[in-house]
Every structure is written in C-alpha cells, then in structure tokens.
C-alpha cells in the first residue's frame, strides 16, 4: 500500500507488520505521554524528586542521551571537517540518532522544569554566567543544526523529492552541509562541555566541584571528550541492533571499523584524563574541603567504591583496549562488549555527576539522601526511547538512511521492475546526497 513511499531497490516488511510494530511501541509511547501530561498538569509532585534530589532521573537521562547522541556531532566532524569518507555510509544514521537524542533531551527538559510555560525565560532573561544557559542555547541551536542535517534525508523520500522545490532545497542544503556541520561541532563542543560544567562549577558540592581553566572546570572538557568518545559507540550499537532487527547488513564494515578505532583511541585518552582528574580530585580538591575520597563512597546503601571501579576500569579501560587493537575490532563479540561497556560507562558517569552529587551529604550533620523514581518519571524516561524506535522505524522504512543497503542486500527484482531498477542502482549510491 505504501510502496510508493519506500525507497527504490530495498525490501521492507509488509505494511501490516510494520503498523503492528509501530502500534506496539506506540502503546509505550502513549504511556509516556500520559505520564508527561500528568507532570504538566499536576506538577512535579508526580515525581519522587525532592528538595535534596532536585536533579534526578530525568536530568541523568538528559545528560545520557546527549552524551550518546554525541555520536552525531563527532561523526559529522570526522566526516565533513576531517574528510573521513568511509563514514558517509553511517553519517545519515548518526544524524538520525543524534536528532532523536537531542529532541528527546529537549522534551525531557520541558517536562523537568517546574514552569514549562516560562521555559523561554532561559533565553529571554539569559544569565550568561550560568552553565545551564549555555546548555540551553547550544542545545537548542544544535538541535536546529541536527534538524538541518536530518531534513535533506527526509526530502529524499521518493514522493517528497518529486516536488522540485524540496528537491532543490535538499540538494542545496547538502551543498553547504560542511558549514552547518562545523557550526554544529562548535555548538556541540560547548554544550557537551557546559553539561559537564553544570556539575563542575558547584563549589558548594565537593563531590562535583572541579578546578579548571578560566571559567571552565575540568568536567567541561571531560564531558565533551567522553561524548565524542562514547557517542560513536552508541551509533555503532544502534546500527548493529538495527542490523539484527532487520536481519540485514546495512553499513559496511570499514565504516564501523574506522569509527570503532577512532572511538577506541578517544576512549583511551579520555579515560586517562578521567583517571588523572579523579586522582587530583581525590587527593587535592576534596581534601581541601575536608573530605576524603571514601567519605563519598561509604555510609549508604548504593554508592560504593564499586561505582568508580565500574566507571573507570570496566567501562573505560576495557572497551578502550578492545577497540584500539585490531584483533579486538575484528572480533564481533569483542566489539559488542566494547561498545556496550562504553555506553554504560558514559551513562554511569552522567549518573554519578547528577545523582550521586545530590546524594552526598555536605553538612556534617546531614544524611545521605537516596531516591527512587516514580513510575511517572520512568514512563517519561522511556517515552523518548519509544519515540526514537518509532522514528527510526519510519525513517528506515521510507528514507534512504543506509546508502549501501540496496547494494549490500540485492533483492530479487520482479520481472517488470527489473529493467527500471537495475540501471539506476549504481549511480544512485554514487550520487547519494550524503556524498554531496
């Protein structure tokens, strides 16, 4: 029924099957939307947040999706600025994943704030000294850039592309994509950093506070770095999952391998920096405020020293060493383990920098504050996942997300169509907009 919308040369599941899938995920989405509306209309009392846990699950989810969404900016940077051509086959998907991550982040922020209708005050009455202002500005600008990067892909839909204006628009946007990508990289660098700055500048919270250069605490750089390092892992992870689900090879190994290799070196350098940072913080910064390292990791039910081991050793050094070695990269299981660990690692880091910061008592007579999210928080956190799955499914079905798909998964052409399709195969992949 919707065959006119499906890209040429690829095979998609029947519409009913597709709709069934969308429907199933849609139910989860609606559950999240219901929770979101509860939060908007009844207020944040729907959550289990409190005056100690002013930042909680959502802000973690926000930071986490932005961190893993960092794959878009970093892949874009490699592709458009550093000219890594191999990545042209994964850049579309990286952009799509980034788009999903950033739109989700903005949605979560819109639920998280106490007064969503006044949310625009952050722009209008901006306080330039606040890391959060920087986050908001760069986040929304970069979301704009991602939209611009994603839009040409939408315009490439068979039917939309027929409209000359849209066709030309998509084409022209491709033409100057490098400029957008550069701006995006600039914006992304800053907001990833400012997200790190959000915690790092809290000089009233010795657990979070870091020294740094000028106005930027070390966490500023560590966050950017870790997003650039682990974001591509998430892109690979989602790509691999998509391949599993569609039972097709969608991206050529050379693209994945290149990305994995770069990611591996990034993770390694990042985790060394993180180790140094942790060491300095544990031996200099925290003691100067009267804290020993172990005070941050004891006397409570959840936050033990295991968290530091897990974040740095297990989810840092291990994936780094797997990905920088050729043997590791060539081993499919190794890659799976590495990218999953890297993604967990960066998410764990964000968790620590949001939730543990809130949990650690600062006043000597205060207590550890532990918190568990309410179902509304969980539902609204799953909401973006469902939304992402749906958007990926729709994009995959109707847009030429994977330029190599047709080539790598040739379909048995129907006799009458064969003539029409065959000749266009070769030029199509050559002329895919991603290349332009």
């Amino acid at each position: 029924m919707d065959s006119a919308l499906i890209p040429k040369g690829v095979k998609r599941c029947p519409l009913w099957q597709f709709l069934l899938f969308i429907g199933a995920v849609g139910i989860v989405l609606l559950w999240g939307v219901y929770a979101m509306l509860l939060c908007w209309f009844k207020g944040l009392n729907q959550t289990n947040m409190n005056d100690y846990y002013g930042f909680a699950l959502w802000i973690w989810a926000d930071l986490a999706v932005i961190a893993v969404g960092g794959g878009a900016f970093f892949t874009g940077l490699l592709r458009y600025i550093f000219g890594k051509d191999e990545l042209k086959n994964i850049i579309n998907y990286a952009v799509l994943i980034g788009f999903i991550c950033y739109s989700s982040a903005l949605l979560i922020l819109a639920i998280d704030i106490g007064q969503p209708l006044r949310g625009w005050f952050i722009f209008w009455h901006a306080n330039v000294h606040s890391m959060l202002t920087e986050v908001a500005f760069c986040l929304s600008c970069y979301f704009g850039v991602l939209t611009i990067e994603y839009l040409p892909l939408v315009l490439e839909n068979r039917q939309i592309d027929k409209v000359p204006f849209f066709h030309h628009l998509g084409h022209n946007m491709h033409e100057i994509m490098a400029v957008f990508a550069a701006t995006g990289a600039f914006l992304s660098f800053f907001h990833q950093g400012s997200l790190g700055g959000v915690a790092g500048v809290l000089f009233g919270r010795p657990f979070a506070y870091r020294e740094g250069v000028f106005i930027w605490p070390w966490t500023f750089f560590l966050f950017t770095w870790s997003a650039a390092a682990c974001g591509p892992c998430f892109t690979i992870l989602v790509t691999k999952i998509t391949e599993k689900v569609t039972r097709k090879k969608l991206v050529k190994d050379n693209a994945i391998e290149l990305l994995a290799k770069i990611s591996g070196w990034m993770i390694l350098t990042y985790i060394i920096a993180k180790t140094v940072d942790t060491w300095y913080w544990a031996t200099v910064t925290a003691p100067s405020k009267g804290f020993t390292l172990m005070e941050f990791y004891s006397n409570n039910a959840l936050y033990g020293i295991w968290i530091l081991v897990a974040e740095i050793l297990i989810c840092g050094y291990i994936p780094a060493f797997i990905l920088i070695t050729k043997k590791g990269r060539k081993n499919p299981l190794g890659v799976w383990i590495a990218i999953i660990l890297a993604v967990i690692g960066v998410c764990l880091n964000r968790w620590v920098m949001v939730l543990q910061v809130m949990a650690v008592p600062v006043m000597t007579f205060d207590h550890w504050a532990l918190y568990y999210p309410s179902w509304q928080e969980v539902a609204t956190t799953i909401l973006p996942v469902a939304y992402g799955v749906i958007l990926i499914a729709i994009s995959y079905r109707y847009l030429p997300v994977f330029p190599n798909e047709a080539e790598m998964n040739p379909i048995e052409p129907l006799p009458e169509e064969a003539a029409a399709i065959e000749p266009s195969m070769a030029p199509e992949q050559e002329l895919t907009p991603a290349e332009a």
């Binding site: 846990y53 106490g114 949310g119 209008w124 009455h125 901006a126 606040s130 890391m131 809290l202 000597t364």
Partner: protein
C-alpha cells in the same frame, strides 16, 4: 579584598541559647506566607525557609549530647562579592545578589523551576514548590500582602525578610530618607525567638550587635575573629553571613568537614 557593600546584613545565632523550640521556623512561615500540607513529615518535601537541624555528638549514653542549629539562607557572598553558589548558576537571572544589602534575592515569578540553584546550595536552603500552595478555606485571610505567595513549580528561599527592610525604608523616606536604625529592620525569626538566641544587623556597621559579637574579618572573607564563633562549611568558600556561637567544641567542629588527622593538627591553632 575591598568590600564595597553599603550594608552586609547578617545574623548571629547563639547555639548555647537556642533551645530548638522551632519558633523561628513558625515565625518565618507566618511572616512569609509559607504554605503547608496535610503530611509534612517528609522533610525533603517540606518548605521551611528556616529549618532547625538537630546535631548530636555521636557519643553513647550518658555522654551523648544534642544541639539544635537553626539554618536560614546563609546569604553567601562567595569568594568575591556576589559569587554565591546559587546566584551565578541561575539560567534565567531569577536570583541575584544585592550589593546594597548583601542579600541573595529572588524573583519567584521569573523562576521557571530548573532547580539548579537547589543543587548548588550545600545548606539546602532553597525549596521547591512541588505542589500548588493551597490554604484551607478561609485561612488565606491571614496571608500577608508584603510577601507574594509563590506558585507551584518555582524555587523559594529565605529573604532575610527583605520586605521588612523595604517597609522600614518607606518609613524612613517619610522622614526625609534618613538611615535606618538597627532595630528598625529585624527579621521575623529574630523578633520571635523566645530565647533571644538570634541577633540580626549590619555586619559592616561596628555599632551593630552582630558586628561586635563575631568581629568579622571583612578583609578575609568575613571570617569570625571571635573564637567561639563559626560559620557552616566555612572552607567551601561560600562566605556566609550567618554566624553561629557555641561554647561547645564539638558543635563548632560540626560546622565544617575536617580530615581526621587535620582535626588533631588544628587543635592548638584554632579556638584558642
């Protein structure tokens, strides 16, 4: 550092006198239209601009000792004037530091509830309105017009009863704009304290009791020169304007975090 404040309103709370009765909390609630709910036993959800903490010395029976510590907003000045932990982080400039008074002020109607300031405050002096403020039918009659009730979804905090400063100044304008006298501007908690444990005034003014009581070293971030005086979390560099007095060492020690060996080292130097 040079101190360019006109005033530096601050508070000195004598913990030897404080009985932990909680009158300051109620005086504050009554003065500032603080709402309440049917269950206020979750203290992490309960708005108390002034909150009385309970400290104990951790010793077993019968050496155990407890002390109460009232905690308003510390009105931190930070290492350089105005760099309080919460002010610079507010993305919408909804909170600010007044150089005229040294008070951290806030526009509740500007705040959009991101709660970043709460995350930044080590004293937990900032409170979020998780619920709509609802007064039982008829009870809204006692609300004071001098403080606007806050709506759901915004952060609020102790203001050192700034409206009382405004009202006192209004009166002074009628007398030709004269300077305020010490007793003309007092916070509600100071006024109510049955034990006279709270003293409020201008730390910059040597004639004011607060200045005489703690002798703040304004050249060095306001550190108290009275050996019995201390501030909460002094070493974070928040430079609070609320000082505490106690003759008991363990209480003064509880005001800040110390490394184990450090406490021993510091003993002869401090609290002479």
């Amino acid at each position: 550092m040079k101190n360019n404040l006109n005033h530096r309103f601050g508070m000195v709370i004598d913990l030897d006198k404080c009985t932990g009765c909680g009158s300051c909390m109620v005086a504050c609630m009554a003065e500032n239209n603080v709402p309440f709910r049917k269950d206020e036993s979750d203290k992490l959800l309960s708005i108390t601009w002034m909150r009385v903490f309970r400290l104990n010395n951790g010793k077993p029976f019968p050496e155990t000792d407890i002390c109460y510590l009232p905690r308003p907003c510390m009105q931190c000045a930070g290492l350089h004037e105005g760099h309080s932990p919460c002010v610079s982080v507010c993305p919408a400039t909804a909170t600010d530091y007044g150089m005229e008074t040294g008070i951290v002020s806030q526009i509740y109607t500007r705040c959009f509830g991101c709660r970043y300031c709460m995350a930044s405050c080590p004293y937990h002096s900032r409170y979020f309105n998780w619920w709509d403020p609802i007064w039982p039918d008829g009870m809204e009659k006692y609300l004071s017009p001098n403080v606007s009730p806050r709506m759901r979804g915004v952060v609020e905090k102790c203001s050192f009863c700034y409206h009382r400063y405004q009202l006192a100044k209004d009166k002074a304008f009628m007398d030709g704009g004269r300077e305020l006298k010490e007793n003309e501007y007092q916070t509600a908690c100071t006024q109510a304290c049955p034990a006279n444990a709270i003293t409020f005034g201008d730390l910059n003014n040597p004639d004011h009791a607060v200045h005489r009581m703690v002798k703040p070293d304004l050249e060095h971030g306001g550190r108290p020169q009275n050996p019995h005086a201390f501030r909460l979390l002094e070493r974070l560099g928040t430079n609070p304007k609320v000082y505490y007095l106690s003759s008991r060492k363990w209480i003064r020690h509880a005001g800040d975090n110390y490394l184990k060996n450090e406490a021993k080292m510091k003993k002869p130097v401090h609290h002479g």
